[in-house]
């Protein structure tokens, strides 16, 4: 893409599957995921990249998909919340921990929370309480008051040590 264009070809691997899309240059990654690929688990909650509901993991880094152009994901590999459960549909240990600790109410911020927590736990198997809070500082929740989210992540981390 050394030439400038108003449309771009985007090749991206999402949750292990390759996808190709021809989209406008202005298309945000979150719209590619939701509208073009039908992966509606990633949510939109604001318009300034503040709430984190759109968090995905791109080339191993947690990022806000509303703050990237789809074009910028070209050639990348990304994971969304839909990648967390097992093939047979059973919940991952982290998802199970969220369920057991009642770490979700309306569920809207939850995919973003799960991806931020996944990013933390992949890099830090023994997070401190402070690490846990920092890991979701970019994710706003209006329902839970965050308490049970911290508990769930702690529980998942302890499960990993076991």
């Amino acid at each position: 893409m050394a030439e400038a264009g108003r449309r771009v070809q985007v090749r991206v691997e999402v949750n292990g599957r390759p996808h190709e899309a021809d989209v406008e240059a202005r298309r945000l990654l979150v719209f590619l995921l939701r509208d073009d690929l039908g992966l509606t688990g990633t949510h939109i909650g604001c318009d300034t990249g503040s709430c984190g509901a759109c968090t995905v993991i791109l080339d191993g880094r947690a990022v806000k998909s509303c703050m990237l152009l789809a074009a910028q994901a070209d050639g990348c590999s990304l994971r969304t919340v839909e990648s967390l459960a097992a093939e047979d549909g059973s919940l991952s240990p982290l998802q199970q921990a969220f369920h057991d600790e009642h770490a979700l109410q309306c569920g809207y911020c939850t995919p973003g929370m799960l991806m931020s927590a996944t990013y933390l736990l992949e890099r830090n198997a023994s997070p401190t309480d402070d690490d846990i809070k920092h890991s979701v500082q970019g994710n706003i929740c209006r329902c839970t008051g965050y308490q049970n989210i911290f508990r769930a992540i702690r529980s998942a981390a302890e499960g990993m040590d076991a």
């Binding site: 240059a25 945000l28 931020s116």
Partner: protein
């Protein structure tokens, strides 16, 4: 939330990037996009062509140069700065500040390039770069030139990087013996957008030999508190000296009132933050902690 139409290009070399930036009258480099994408969404004064510079190899990476200074590629992310052993070893303040910007997701994308070149009043790095005496390398059609941080920042979105040019790297000098840095902020919520912040560097040789106190958030560009610096030199930077140094300083500032604080209050906050930053910085210098 709804982007205007733009052209997108993704060069793989600096020369390609420079050409793309020069051949459109409203083009801008896109690095992490953590500010620029928001600007575009709001349909304010956004570029019509974005040149994605994140796949240009020579703009990435952190290394220590032969003279001991730190060289940071322009598209180094805040996360990479916090993960770089070299940064912690040579000039830890850069990693410290990078680690409190916004949140994990922003740090994984946001770059020192964006923070410097967009130069919003609340941007963290402009005052830090001025305080440590950084040098910024700007590439253009005529080649590269080095711009000291003190001359780099002009106003929001306007820096020494002109149309058709690119920031390629930032050089941060190593700390000299007795030198330490600190960063102090009052923010709207923990680790959130700053209301007032200040970057301070002190070099102690018994007493204060050099001082650099640079404020952000209070003007269109970072403000060096030269009067404060002059008063500090030769002192022990103890409580009394710090207090004396900031006296009347706030009145010299003209910060804008906004939803978080009035201009008057920001003046007062600036004094308090500077006073505390100086004390902390001196303590670090004495401990040899470097800050």
């Amino acid at each position: 939330m709804l982007m205007p139409e733009i052209e997108y290009a993704r060069p793989t070399t600096v020369d390609e990037a420079l050409d793309l930036l020069a051949t459109h009258d409203n083009a801008r480099a896109l690095a992490g996009g953590q500010t620029l994408i928001n600007v575009l969404k709001l349909r304010l004064l956004g570029p019509e062509r974005v040149v994605d510079i994140t796949r240009i190899g020579e703009l990435r990476g952190v290394r220590t140069l032969d003279d001991g200074s730190l060289e940071i590629g322009a598209t180094t992310t805040y996360a990479e700065l916090t993960e770089a052993v070299d940064v912690w070893a040579v000039r830890p303040i850069v990693a410290e500040v990078a680690s409190i910007i916004a949140d994990v997701q922003v740090r994984n994308r946001g770059t020192i390039d964006g923070n410097a070149c967009l130069n919003l009043p609340t941007s963290h790095f402009p005052p830090v770069l001025v305080a440590v005496g950084a040098e910024l390398t700007v590439a253009g059609a005529e080649g590269e030139r080095i711009v000291p941080a003190s001359e780099f920042f002009e106003s929001p979105f306007t820096t020494a990087v002109r149309t058709g040019e690119l920031l390629t790297r930032v050089r941060i000098p190593a700390r000299r013996p007795g030198e330490a840095d600190t960063f102090a902020a009052m923010a709207a919520g923990r680790e959130s957008k700053s209301i007032v912040h200040v970057a301070t560097s002190l070099r102690l040789d018994g007493a204060v030999a050099e001082a650099s106190v640079v404020l952000g958030c209070v003007a269109p560009r970072p403000v060096r508190a030269t009067a404060v610096e002059e008063r500090l030199v030769g002192t022990q930077a103890d409580e009394e000296a710090a207090r004396d140094a900031v006296e009347g300083f706030g009145a010299t500032l003209t910060p804008v009132s906004d939803v978080n604080a009035s201009g008057d209050f920001k003046r007062h906050v600036a004094e308090v933050l500077v006073e505390r930053a100086v004390l902390e910085c001196a303590e670090r210098a004495r401990r040899g902690a470097g800050g």
